[in-house]
């Protein structure tokens, strides 16, 4: 016969203060655990969403990112004329030669300069990025010193309104629009005309070439063709892979930091649960004796106490997750180590993380409760009844 569920629940309720303190400790651990995973998830989602699967990025060989890359005009025109590039309704090739440089702009909150990616775009750049929409104003006229800025830039940096002037590279640049690229890296960029920017920064070379594949399955063929061309020293990557590579180092750092932290923290919470459960057992020796005398078996006692500590863990896990879910309203910006520029991203709660956190809290409860529960179940009936 099983000891009813409510026995475990009621017991937690009777010792409210102790229960809530133990749950509080566990909730904090789960909170940290979930927060770090959400951060890594948010970062990766931001960078991976930035790429599209049928777009291809060409950079100079062994340049990790567009910022370090350089492709001169001759090489660029060779790429441009490759077969296998998609064409639009008007018969024009879906290819954009872009230049990416970093500029320092002052932030709104601290007034300290922070690095921002400024991307010189071609005619097709916007079309190649399906996720980018102009949310305010218009596109810059090509060949002019007009720029558009991403919505994260508009929010976090000074002079982020349509009609305002930004000054860099000895020129005044008028903001004519703000674009919304959702939760992608583009939202943290400034876009302007590629050729004007090249002149301004006295660059002879483009940074990267982006093109849409006519047939996504032909990627390997095109990659092979470009990378083995002796005139070119270039590297070809799918856009999704390009951005995944960028997020790897940071996401890995966050995960390692997060996992090692939570393991240490969970030791503290497990100890808390253990103290609580040992006390729960010690206080109820006579009760346990009575239960045994009534005919409940050792394993029933074990189950009841394990259940109780699992409950502790579960409540802690749920409380921690509730707190963590509020983090989703919070956007943080930090330096992307791959490009040395600012990147804004938010905490992302995925079902996967919910599952992991709950599982984690149950494991904490179980490890904390197992030893005390075993002690309870091993008790001798006569001694336990005499105990009080």
């Amino acid at each position: 016969m099983k000891i009813p569920f409510s026995y475990s629940l009621r017991n937690l309720w009777t010792r409210r203060l102790t229960t809530s303190l133990t749950v509080g400790g566990m909730a904090l651990v789960v909170f940290v655990f979930a927060a770090v995973l959400m951060l890594a998830e948010g970062l990766q989602k931001t960078l991976v969403d930035t790429g599209s699967d049928d777009n291809v990025v060409v950079t100079r060989k062994s340049a990790g990112s567009e910022v370090q890359s350089a492709i001169d005009r001759v090489q660029a025109s060779i790429i441009e004329t490759q077969p296998g590039i998609a064409v639009d309704a008007d018969g024009r090739r879906m290819v954009a030669k872009e230049i990416v440089v970093l500029i320092a702009l002052p932030k709104k909150s601290t007034n300290k300069p922070s690095n921002v990616v400024i991307r010189g775009i071609g005619e097709k750049s916007l079309e190649l990025r399906r996720q980018v929409k102009i949310s305010e104003g218009r596109m810059p006229v090509s060949g002019s010193t007009e720029i558009i800025i991403g919505k994260s830039i508009a929010k976090r940096f000074k002079s982020g309104k349509v009609g305002e002037i930004l000054r860099f590279g000895l020129r005044d640049w008028r903001i004519v629009g703000i674009f919304d690229a959702g939760n992608t890296g583009f939202s943290s960029e400034v876009w302007g005309d590629a050729d004007i920017l090249m002149q301004t920064f006295r660059r002879q070379a483009y940074s990267s070439i982006i093109f849409r594949l006519q047939n996504p399955t032909e990627f390997e063929v095109i990659k092979q063709k470009i990378e083995s061309d002796p005139r070119l020293t270039l590297e070809v990557r799918k856009e999704t892979k390009y951005y995944r590579d960028q997020s790897e180092m940071m996401a890995k750092f966050l995960r390692i930091l997060g996992i090692s932290l939570t393991i240490i923290f969970s030791l503290g919470a497990v100890i808390g649960a253990m103290i609580t459960m040992y006390a729960a057992v010690a206080n109820r020796i006579a009760e346990i004796g009575t239960l045994r005398a009534l005919g409940f078996r050792r394993r029933n006692i074990l189950a009841a106490f394990v259940m109780e500590s699992l409950f502790l863990g579960l409540i802690g896990g749920i409380a921690g997750l509730i707190f963590a879910s509020f983090l989703q309203f919070y956007t943080i910006s930090t330096m992307n180590w791959a490009t040395f520029s600012e990147l804004a991203f938010s905490f992302e709660l995925s079902p996967h993380i919910v599952l992991k956190s709950i599982l984690f809290s149950l494991i904490m409860g179980l490890t904390g409760g197992m030893l005390p529960a075993i002690r309870a179940s091993r008790m001798n009936i006569v001694e336990a009844l005499r105990g009080e």
Binding site: L17, T18, L21, T22, G24, G25, L28, V29, F31, V32, L39, R60, K61, S62, A63, G64, V67, Q68, V101, L102, I103, A104, T110, K112, P113, S114, N115, F168, G169, L170, F201, R202, Q204, T233, F253, L257, L261, I264, F265, L267, G268, A269, I271, G272, M274, I275, T276, Y278, A279, N283, I332, S333, T334, M335, F340, E342
Partner: protein, 385 residues
């Protein structure tokens, strides 16, 4: 005296519980200390910077170079003692995960401006004489087992190709705040090759390192340098080395803040655990407290007993945690030298450990003490366990 004895005896009444709580506090203080050390490691570059050094770079951003011709112009500016320059090389040693800082320097003056890099005179001589030679920090050389005379190949990310250098010198830091994981070589060698492979990028430097005559006038000198190049094709931005380093950190500020927050969360977690222990202890002894009250002891003595026990337990854990921080930090320092070249426990961290321990002890005692004082004698005596 008797009170102290009672407190110690009390804390040993539930040996298992006390041991577990002490263990919890130990872990918490240990991780708190390590997190704090991570934060100070983050700021290590700022701490190590000198007030008499200025960094001049392109005003657009760090990725833009400055012409080599600026060197003479900067040297003539009033208040400047000496000028050197360098470029970030960003080479990869065998694999991307073997990251270390590597740059090209105009070595002669640079080493004078950086007296904290200590190189044996004969090695320095050998390095300065050979254009293809390089210098590595001691920790870096130890990590990869490099010896003087070894050939080291770096794969360039900014400057394409494989670059070979002969290790001619190994530098040590003047004290333990100096980064010993850097790698540098002659800028002239870099420029020579760049002239061949990408002539339009030759004769350009990443930054100028300027030593000022009087650190008190550093700000004015910085303004003078920037004014000299105002409205030129490459405007400059000059700031003290400290501000330059802080600029890097402010970009990763979010991570530093997160680590700071987390270091406090661990204190809160342990606060809950200790408070739990104290609450249970006090509840079990309510009857005893009632007896104390009957004997005429006031709230002062009773709360003294509770707080005393809380402090004994927490402080035992704190001290063990503090002692353990040192060996653990040592392991961390060698494992994470890629991310944190400098990983030292600062005295400040230890003070914070003690403060955290005391706060936890006091917070944990408040509620049980309040309950013990408030309960009436009759109620207390009636209550069983």
């Amino acid at each position: 005296m008797h009170v102290l004895k009672l407190i110690f005896r009390n804390s040993l009444r539930h040996k298992l519980r006390t041991i577990l709580t002490v263990l919890g506090v130990t872990i918490a203080i240990l991780s708190f200390g390590l997190l704090r050390t991570v934060i100070s490691a983050w700021y290590a570059g700022v701490e190590a910077s000198s007030a008499s050094r200025l960094v001049t770079r392109n005003a657009v951003s760090l990725t833009f170079p400055l012409p080599l011709s600026y060197k003479e112009k900067i040297r003539q500016i009033e208040g400047v003692k000496s000028v050197s320059y360098g470029s970030w090389f960003g080479g990869i040693y065998i694999d991307e995960k073997n990251f270390f800082a590597n740059y090209a320097l105009e070595a002669e003056h640079y080493l004078d401006i950086y007296p904290e890099f200590i190189i044996p005179p004969e090695q320095k001589e050998a390095f300065l004489r050979d254009r293809k030679s390089a210098v590595a920090g001691k920790k870096l050389a130890d990590k990869y087992g490099w010896k003087i005379g070894d050939i080291i190949t770096l794969k360039g990310t900014i400057y394409p190709g494989n670059w070979e250098f002969v290790l001619k010198a190994i530098y040590k830091g003047r004290d333990n705040t100096v980064d010993e994981t850097a790698f540098f070589f002659h800028w002239a060698y870099l420029n020579e090759i760049v002239k061949k492979i990408a002539p339009q990028r030759a004769d350009q430097v990443g930054w100028y390192m300027v030593e000022v005559k009087n650190p008190d006038h550093a700000a004015e000198v910085a303004v003078r340098i920037d004014q000299a190049f105002k409205n030129s094709l490459a405007e400059t931005l000059t700031e003290t080395e400290k501000a330059f380093q802080l600029g890097f950190i402010s970009m990763t500020e979010a991570i530093v803040i997160a680590i700071k927050l987390v270091s406090f969360v661990v204190i809160f977690i342990i606060m809950a655990v200790v408070a739990n222990t104290m609450a249970m202890t006090a509840r079990e002894r309510i009857g005893e407290y009632a007896v104390f009250k009957t004997l005429g002891f006031g709230g002062f003595h009773i709360s003294g007993l509770i707080f005393g026990e809380s402090i004994v337990i927490t402080m035992t854990g704190t001290v063990i945690g503090m002692v353990l921080t040192f060996p653990v930090a040592k392991v961390f320092a060698s494992e994470l030298s890629t991310y944190f070249p400098i990983f030292i426990i600062e005295p400040e961290t230890l003070y914070m450990d003690i403060a955290a321990g005391l706060i936890v002890a006091l917070m944990a005692g408040i509620f049980p003490a309040w309950r013990a004082i408030k309960i009436s004698i009759a109620d207390g005596l009636r209550r069983i366990g």
